[in-house]
């Protein structure tokens, strides 16, 4: 005789229904602010109010015509590009050294390089602002410069690049590198002809991730930029604190589109690599 089995109190059908409701709510939760912003950016009204009665591209035109907004966008792009280059160079070189050589104090080094990633942006921003506020290079004040913001953003972006590239370098079969040298290829040429193509996807991803992080960041920039160098998120924040108009929604869409453009670039690159291999 087998033991009698009791039917569970919560039947599978009820469970499935709960899961479906939960999933739908979560999807709605994630999509609401995105869709609201997108809709509002096409509003023809002067204020942020629902329901939206007139639709227009007016706020986009205004964005394009305003030197303040376009200037902020350009600042954002300059800083993000600088951050991407700076953190990728530092992170890739460090990851290469970390994976290819046996180093003394390697654990300590790892902790040192990773530590900034754990720090809240406000702490990093404050620290850099306090320390370098009175520095100037040849009459060029460091505080408020693009350079200092790039450096501050690299504090977050570099450890991420390092993490990513460390994994990438570890995945490479060392024998392939040795095979190249064995066949007569000097080390530097091996790096550029054999290794770079093998890590290209990782490299592109590093650059673009760093770019996206910098583009979106807005706590450090609040401390480190001035009127001339303020980025799009700063301008949005200031707008939100004073007179909010659908203009901010347009800025939100613009900045998000830049991010998605980066993401699509990674995707396109990745698919191209895949196709090249598996055709």
């Amino acid at each position: 005789m087998s033991d009698a089995l009791r039917a569970p109190r919560i039947g599978p059908r009820l469970l499935r229904a709960i899961a479906a409701v939960f999933t739908l709510s979560l999807v709605a939760y994630i999509l609401i602010p995105v869709l609201v912003t997108l809709a509002m950016s096409f509003s023809g009204a002067a204020q942020l109010r629902f329901p939206i009665r007139s639709w227009s591209l007016g706020w986009y035109a205004e964005f394009a015509a305003s030197p303040q907004w376009t200037g902020a966008l350009i600042n954002s792009l300059i800083i993000a590009t600088g951050t991407a280059v700076m953190s990728s160079v530092a992170g890739v070189a460090a990851a290469y050294a970390y994976t290819r050589y046996t180093l003394r104090f390697s654990t300590l080094l790892y902790v040192l390089l990773m530590l900034p990633l754990f720090m809240p942006g406000i702490v990093l921003g404050l620290g850099v602002a306090l320390t370098f506020s009175r520095f100037s290079i040849g009459g060029y004040s460091l505080l408020g410069s693009h350079l200092l913001v790039m450096i501050a953003h690299s504090l977050w972006a570099m450890p991420l690049v390092f993490l990513l590239m460390e994994a990438v370098f570890r995945m490479i079969d060392r024998r392939v590198i040795e095979a190249a040298q064995d066949l007569g290829c000097p080390p530097l040429r091996t790096f550029f002809e054999i290794e770079v193509p093998m890590i290209s996807t990782g490299l592109i991803s590093s650059l673009l991730f760093a770019f996206v992080i910098s583009l979106n960041e807005f706590v450090m920039v609040l401390f480190l930029t001035d009127r001339d160098t303020q980025t799009l998120p700063v301008l949005m924040w200031l707008g939100l604190r004073s007179a909010a108009t659908p203009q901010i929604a347009v800025a939100s869409v613009v900045i998000s589109l830049s991010v998605f453009a980066c993401l699509s670039l990674i995707m396109v690159w990745y698919v191209r690599q895949l196709r090249k291999i598996t055709r």
Binding site: D173, R175, V176, E178, A179, A180, Q181, D182, L183, G184, C185, P186, P187, T190, I194, P197, M198, K276, I277, T278, R279
Partner: protein, 348 residues
Amino acid sequence: MPQTALDLDHICRNYGPVVAVDDVSLTVAKGEFVTLLGPSGAGKTSTLRLIGGFESIDSGAIGLNGGRVDHLPPYLRDTATIFQSGALFPHKTVAENVAFGLRMRRIAKADIAVRVAEALAVVRLQGLEDRYPDQLSGGQKQRVALARSMAVRPAILLFDEPLSALDLSLRLQLRSEIKRLHDEIGFSAIYVTHDQGEAMAMSDRVAVMRSGKIEQTDCPETVFNAAANEFIHTFVGETCCLTFRIEGGRGVDPATGTLDLHLAQPLPDGAYRLYLRPSQPSLGQAAQAMPNRVIARLGFVAFLGEKYRHHLMAGPCEIVGDQPGALTAESGADALIGWDSSAMRIFQ
């Protein structure tokens, strides 16, 4: 023209306290195929990597075609390694992979094309020039690796267990193919393996390694039939062991006390181990005629296709004997094992 392709002169390499390669000396003549055979951790691959220049030697000298190369980085040494993983360049096509070494040697474009085609023809991969490594099977990858290394016509080819990642039938097929290529082209090679069958089948000479040292270098037949020591004898080929004692000049099986031994020279008293290969013992009636005999209990019989394998227990020792027909005795019954004096090896 020097007659030696490779000359290892007392080379050593330590990794901290571990002695990976311990005073290894070996010469490979032009066109010779030498195998480094040994269990894992014996220092075979380490030796190969020292020759290729991926690691540097602590002491000794490495000569290639008569010139010293141990101070040179890998890209200046005229060696070519076939790695276990193949180590093909994943972003290059088959043809580009094979052409790579030739480009590094600054050979004219037209000549490269000819030699790539030639190398791919030799390993029977025509038509796959434009494939990427990901689109190849394991066996094809190793053929490309082989073509890539042979195309540069190095002073010596270094094989680092190139077949051990492949399945059995493919391994046998490629083994004979490498053998055929060696016979046709006559390249010099060092082949690292832990598979003694591979070593026997392909080599002109076999060097057996253990704990960083070469213990014997001889032609395959000598290594198999006249191993220099007990380790080599047990490592090369199947063998079973019978432990016994000599007391008062007579052989005594400790378990049954019924060991008949006819020794060419008497052995001093003490404990010994006697080794027989599965093909050597005669079983049952046929054993009566043999000079050396022991009574054992029949365990079980396994059918192996062309022969029956008998597992017998002589006291605590398991003896394996192959015969074309199965013994009729039942499991558990006593059976006589007999053998020729020339068949056995005894070690103290």
